[in-house]
Amino acid sequence: MSAELIRRSAADLATALAAGEVSSVEVTQAHLDRIAAVEPAVHAFLHVSGESALATARDVDARRAAGETLHALAGVPIAVKDVVVTEGVPTTAGSRILEGWVPPYDATLVRRLKAARLPVLGKTNMDEFAMGSSTEHSAYGDTHNPWDLDRIPGGSGGGSAAAVAAFEAPLAIGTDTGGSIRQPAAVTGTVGSKPTYGSVSRYGLIALASSLDQAGPCTRTVLDAALLHELIGGHDPLDSTSIAEPLPDLVGAARQGLSGDLSGVRVGVVRELQGEGYQPGVLARFEESLEVLRGLGAEVVEVSCPHFGYALEAYYLILPAEASSNLAKFDGMRFGLRVEPEDGPVTAERVMAATRGRGFGDEVKRRIILGTYALSAGYYDAYYGSAQKVRTLIQRDFAAAFERADVLVSPTAPTTAFRLGEKLDDPLAMYLNDVATIPVNLAGVPGLSLPAGLSDDGLPVGFQVIAPAKADDRLYRVGAALETALESRWGGPILAQAPRLEENR
């Protein structure tokens, strides 16, 4: 029964809950049981809030019994990345410097989850302050890929992706600054959507790079992603960069896609996002998916985005610059870790230095130093200024490409999941993982990753769909159509092919 429940999609669970076939308490308890069973192997969570999740579930069941009209996802449990601030629940962003901090307020998206009465199962592991592509930079231990526990679950949102892939949660919240939702989705055989910048409020996300960060859904189906995106998205006056106009009809677009017809849809293959550096198995699955799209009636064209070649360099100036400023507040003065110097006077400056020295990990320090340098007088124009120009050129590349295509596509990541530790000492190799996802953040456009099958190594490959800003509905239409067609080839969801995790009971 509970094994059955945890494998169902959020949309299915919502239907079953609405029909009274199952209670939210049963669904929530099933997931908490699964968490207890597989967490020792996966370690997707940093904090499990079982009691409050069950309390929400009981409340939903009581309201439903009383005939109250509830949100479609009411009672469907969810996990939240630990970079999202949750009132009364520890929030660390994967960093030692926030150990023990209990926020006094909720992020806007959490308020929306609570208003819709989704039981929050807990907070998921991540690279410290979302800096990384493997979750190995978490101060609280590695998360393991459910497909192969010796491999990385992607990052920075490896915890959310692994939780969904391991059936610990049907839904999770991720955040994506350069691929942190999409790349983990790709390497865990799940779905991840990075909405248009401004589509989902950033109020209450612990900022990495303000102009790039965006929260979004981590799910196992495209329809579930659309459902969750609609719930958390929309204007928020507390976030000045939030888009004022209403969201497009995302769920409607996903349902339209499920019908399987993509006649007249122009799909642009980005020439610069394939070839050298991409695993043959990744490229093979990508080509097969293009064939499937053609079969659904889509017109596949090639487009060129010549400035994408500079994206990684621009990104690694803009991100550290903004991060160096965003992370300045972690100083031991008001919240979180406070370290006093071991000898010498205890001045504010020395406490700040000692706290930051002890509280931040190496990758965080590396990027703060990079960013501080890039913003320094005399270097600003050469580094931050030039990077912003590249950003404009990339936006123009996208604009030109969207003249010729309704959506753009590429492999999500150049490789399947690598082994834990494999790239930990080589930051540049680690950064290259995000080569196909970063341009999307720089331009602020939406991107979605869905499973495209397994590579020769038996590990999942991700297929990325990119749409123009504010046209997130196209992601869900094309994504759902491709998903349906691929699953009918595979005879079921890709995760059915994942090895069964040893349950610890």
Binding site: V85, S240, T241, K329, R334, Y384
Partner: protein, 503 residues
């Protein structure tokens, strides 16, 4: 260290004879908005520490700023009143530096794109002339919190045991107004500096953008001073004296820096570009941080905020709704009141403009209002060493007093006694008049009694008058006035005396 001994000072007159002074002034004004610049925390003076805060003004992880529209409107009002161009679009920037009173360890400010720029304001000096000060920019920013250092000798951080931070002030909206170098003021630079800050203070109050109370730090001035050998020489190295918070101090600080810098230059030294602290008690400045060592603030555009692009129609509505500005109002009132230039200047310098305006509004003639405030009351204020406005008397009371005079119920001499009673807290003029029994005796009965008594007491004088010699009438009138304690109308007494003698 030589900083403990006062540096040599060149007497001001000598200094300005040898050097040309150039000043520049940065004024910060706290806007009187209900909430802070970037969040909904309510603003109020004197709240318990750290009660007027939200996750935003505490800089908690995840919090984001949102611009206060009223603060933008106030900044535009200030910009328009200073004859500035209002930017079609402008941005906020982050000024990055670590200090515990800055919760995010950066201040959200405007850097290369201020909301208002290229303006000017005419400043009236004590001799009635005006001096035009050019305004480079007016930009929006947020205030920092307030540090209290506990356990040290003087409340300074040096030697303190620990420090407390109150974030109530953190995030209060500020507008900073920066002048261009003010040249051509010559030896009047200190006066120009003071008059400029005073002009801005009056402007803020008139515009309704701030209570602009200097003593609460609502308005704070940083004063830049440099000297050069002659007006056509290039600008000299400047010093910036921070947080000079009264009009008088602004004038004194400029004067002091002129004398100090002249001494350095006379001795063949060079001025160090630095910020300096103002010491109100000693009337001196001392070195702060050296500018060339100043931190690199690593300014960059605030990515959490979108550009502020004030709609042109909105700006024009704000312009149309601006109240009458102080200079225009002074010109209008002078015309209405018919004061001579010198009279008007004295009124303004004495801080009597509002008082006279209210007194006139209460029914007194402009001449009478001026006579009271610039005469008897100015003397009283001077004796008591208080401002005119702080005297315990209202314009309405002065108008009431004058009404008693105009009605013939008291004469000038009695009016001064009534005034004395009002100032002594005995109540309104009418009440004082009744309580002290000062009303002019207009009933002939008691006057005739007094006249008869006086005539009877001095029969020889009565005889002379009867004989046509009117010279001694004054003696009888004097006696009657004495008998009625001055409350008689002298003209009426004279008429009655003549009537009586010739009857």
């Amino acid at each position: 260290m030589s900083t403990t001994t006062a540096p040599d000072l060149v007497p001001y007159e000598d200094a300005v004879a040898r050097y040309d002074t150039v000043i520049g002034i940065e004024v910060h004004v706290e806007l009187g908005t209900r909430t802070k610049m970037f969040d909904g925390a309510e603003v109020g003076f004197g709240g318990e520490p750290n009660t007027q805060v939200t996750p935003v003004s505490l800089g908690l992880p995840g919090a984001l700023p949102a611009v206060n529209g009223t603060a933008v409107e106030y900044a535009i009002r200030i910009g328009l009143a200073l004859n500035c161009t209002i930017a079609e679009s402008c941005r906020f920037a982050r000024k990055n530096y670590f200090y515990p009173d800055v919760p995010k360890n950066f201040q959200t400010s405007q850097y290369d794109e201020p909301i208002a720029y290229d303006g000017w304001v005419d400043v009236e000096l004590e001799d009635g002339s005006t001096f035009r000060v050019e305004v480079e920019r007016a930009h929006m920013e947020e205030d920092a919190g307030k540090n209290t250092h506990v356990g040290g000798a003087t409340g300074r951080i040096h030697g303190a045991e620990y420090s407390l931070v109150d974030y109530n002030r953190a995030g209060i909206p500020l507008v900073e107004i920066v002048t261009r170098p003010i040249e051509g003021a010559g030896d009047r630079a200190p006066e120009v500096a003071r008059a400029y800050v005073q002009t801005l203070r009056d402007l803020f109050r008139t515009l309704g953008v701030s209570e602009a109370r200097m003593e609460r730090g609502n308005v704070r001035a940083d004063v830049n001073v440099s000297l050069r050998p002659s007006p056509d020489a290039p600008l000299g190295t400047r010093t910036e004296t921070k947080n000079v918070n009264s009009f008088r101090s602004v004038e004194r600080a400029v004067r002091y820096e002129v004398g100090r810098q002249a001494a350095v230059l006379d001795a063949g030294g060079r001025i160090t570009q630095e910020t300096r602290h103002w010491h109100e008690d000693r009337g001196t400045t001392s070195p702060g941080r050296v500018k060339s060592d100043a931190e690199d603030y690593r300014y960059f555009p605030e990515p959490d905020l979108v550009p502020v692009a004030p709609d042109r129609a909105w700006v024009e509505r704000i312009r149309a709704a601006l109240p009458e500005l102080p200079a225009a109002r002074r010109r209008r009132l002078q015309g209405e009141w018919g004061y001579a230039d010198a009279e008007m200047r004295d009124v303004v310098n004495a801080g009597a403009l509002e008082l006279i305006e209210a007194t006139v509004a209460g029914g007194a003639s402009p001449a009478a209002a001026r006579k009271w405030w610039m005469g008897e009351l100015a003397r009283t204020a001077k004796q008591g060493e208080v401002e005119l406005a702080d005297l315990p008397i209202t314009p309405a009371q002065i108008a009431g007093l004058q009404a008693l005079v105009d009605a013939g119920r008291i004469n000038d001499k009695l009016a001064r006694q009534v005034l004395e009673g009002v100032l002594a807290g005995e109540g309104d003029p009418e009440a004082v008049l009744v309580a002290r029994g000062l009303e002019i005796v207009s009933d002939d009965g008691p006057l005739l009694e007094a006249i008869d008594a006086a005539l009877a007491a001095q029969p020889d004088i009565a005889e002379k008058i009867r004989g046509g010699n009117l010279g001694p009438v004054g003696a009888i009138i004097g006696a009657v006035m004495k008998a009625t304690r001055g409350q008689a109308d002298a003209g009426r007494v004279r008429a009655l005396v003549l009537e009586r003698v010739n009857a």
